[in-house]
């Protein structure tokens, strides 16, 4: 597979929405330990609004419009930290994907690079601060590394990197968001935001796998 179009992405977001819903309680439990316990609810509801809007909206001619929609729905419907960060990432990406109707390997790298940048410049977290970035950034690096391989390979590697990153947050001390107030005590617990990043790549992987099979 060497490209993904708008319909592919609609399906991918639908997979992600299902995953967020299935993992709602799991995510909330993680956030209950380090934060206010709402991330599962906001992600499940945020992505389901995004999915619905993507399915209903007529004018999704290019990936600029596509991610602009994702971004504004997510920030409007889930104005929590995670919703706002993802919203910012999507909107950042929408700007550099204007006009594109399908994404090839290097576009995919660009997409996640922009999302990562958008989140980073909104939240100002560094790698190691125990946030979504600790899963997302390694995944972006994996995408870059595999940009000459197939999309299947890229996504698989990105997913694996995100999962490793997510697990590495367990040992980190939180420096951003509500978790930060636990200082030393935040260690030993997996970051809920990083878990969201891993689930996003899992959504891509599931869709790509189904496709490969056909």
């Amino acid at each position: 597979m060497n490209s993904l179009n708008i319909d592919d992405f609609k399906n991918i977001f639908s997979e992600i929405s299902t995953l967020m819903n299935d993992n709602k309680n799991y995510l909330c439990e993680l956030d209950g330990v380090l934060g206010d316990g709402d991330i599962g609810v906001t992600m499940a509801s945020g992505f389901s609004f995004v999915k619905k809007e993507l399915q209903e909206k007529q004018s999704l001619g290019d990936f600029g419009q596509f991610f602009r929609t994702c971004g504004s729905v997510m920030s409007e419907k889930a104005p929590s930290t995670m919703g706002t960060l993802l919203g910012s990432g999507f909107i950042k990406a929408s700007k550099s994907l204007k006009g594109k109707e399908s994404l090839d390997q290097s576009d995919l790298v660009e997409l996640f690079n922009q999302i990562n940048d958008g989140i980073q410049s909104r939240g100002k977290a560094e790698i190691g601060d125990k946030t979504i970035l600790d899963a997302l950034t390694p995944a972006v690096k994996a995408l870059e590394k595999e940009k000459n391989a197939s999309i299947e390979t890229m996504i698989l590697e990105a997913y694996k990197a995100a999962e490793v990153g997510m697990k590495q947050t367990i040992e980190m001390q939180s420096n951003k968001g509500r978790g930060a107030r636990y200082q030393e005590n935040s260690k030993g617990k997996q970051d809920p935001g990083a878990t969201v990043a891993k689930l996003i790549f899992e959504g891509f992987r599931i869709y790509i796998n189904q496709h490969k099979a056909i």
Binding site: E76, G123, R181
Partner: protein
């Protein structure tokens, strides 16, 4: 849980409907969900507009400061939750009149991220936006990390003074600079005696033991800096004022305004008992009080507790402080 409410998920929507129907001459809604409120006469021509916003559950904060001589608009989140950037943008568009918009809000990451996002969206629409972030809670971070402090009741002074200055014709840059200066001169510290109950949770958000108090607790129940047994009003006043004055460091403090803010359930009588001691201590130190505010200015639902804010004043600040304002909750007349 003892609350006057219907379905918990309608708590804020119904509050907003009540507010709008009680104050039709003062407030106007610019979104169907009522989460963006502005002065009834917005946009006001020839003036930098001031926009605020934040989570609900803190009335009069934040939307309660919409009014003449105060802020032009506010976006409203759910209880203790930031509002969305779109709600902020809608507020911004409804109040701006070509002179630009100053955002003033408290330092909470959800608010910061969303207001930043709204500011970017507004700039894209050709609206100039500057931002001043309230960081008055001296208990939330040591002085070295001043920039990371939370914003609490002291934001009242930012609103009041920025609004007065804007009405005098300051442009956006001047207004931002002035408000930042005020920001550096406002310091607050709180003490909590009992927790609040979130409508959709139904039980206390945290516990404070019987006969105990927690100094420095935030307005969402963020942990404080000193837990201990309940002291007398005089001891508490001395303790808090000492911490504030220390925080001013080498700054010259000769004339202040004092704000004693009740967090929700504290009788007005007790706020005045604390004010009494504060005024005696300041007198003792040769510090004059130009103006006192005592009452509910930034609450946490039914939390019991109070905060003390000082504003270090100069002549300009004192004269701006005297100018009248009118909001649904507080008014200051020239009667």
């Amino acid at each position: 849980m003892k609350k006057f409410m219907n379905e918990p998920e309608n708590f804020i929507n119904e509050t907003l409907e009540g507010l709008l129907s009680a104050h039709p001459n003062k407030l106007r809604s610019v979104r169907e969900d009522n989460k963006a409120l502005v002065r009834a006469d917005a946009p006001v021509e020839n003036k930098v507009a001031i926009v605020t916003g934040g989570g609900a559950g803190h009335l009069p904060l934040f939307l309660g400061y919409i009014g003449k001589g105060m802020v032009d608009g506010a976006s409203v989140g759910e209880v203790f939750t930031a509002s969305s950037a779109q709600q902020m943008l809608d507020t911004t568009k409804a109040v701006e009149s070509g002179k630009g918009v100053l955002y003033i809000y408290g330092n909470y990451s959800g608010d910061v991220m969303n207001f930043d996002m709204a500011a970017e969206m507004a700039e894209e629409d050709g609206i100039r936006v500057e931002t001043v972030i309230g960081k008055d809670d001296i208990a939330s971070m040591p002085i070295e990390q001043k920039e990371d402090r939370r914003g609490v009741a002291g934001i009242f002074y930012l609103y009041k003074l920025a609004a007065a200055k804007a009405e005098q014709g300051a442009n956006l840059e001047e207004l931002k600079e002035f408000t930042e200066k005020v920001n550096n001169q406002v310091k607050t510290i709180g003490v909590a005696l009992s927790p609040c109950v979130l409508p959709n949770v139904g039980k206390p958000a945290f516990t404070i033991e019987e006969d105990s108090m927690e100094i420095g607790m935030g307005i969402h129940g963020e942990p404080g800096i000193e837990k201990g047994s309940l002291q007398t009003a005089d001891e508490i006043a001395s303790n808090l004022i000492e911490k504030i004055l220390q925080d001013y460091g080498n700054e010259k403090v000769e004339n202040v305004s004092v704000l004693i803010n009740g967090l929700g359930s504290t009788p007005l009588e007790e706020l005045y008992i604390v004010y009494r001691k504060v005024s005696l201590i300041l007198k003792d130190k040769g510090i004059d009080i130009c103006k006192a505010y005592v009452g509910q200015y930034a609450t946490s639902l039914e939390m019991t507790g109070l905060s003390i804010s000082l504003l270090n004043t100069n002549e300009e600040i004192r004269s701006l402080l005297e100018l009248p304002f009118s909001t649904p909750f507080h008014e200051q007349s020239s009667l």
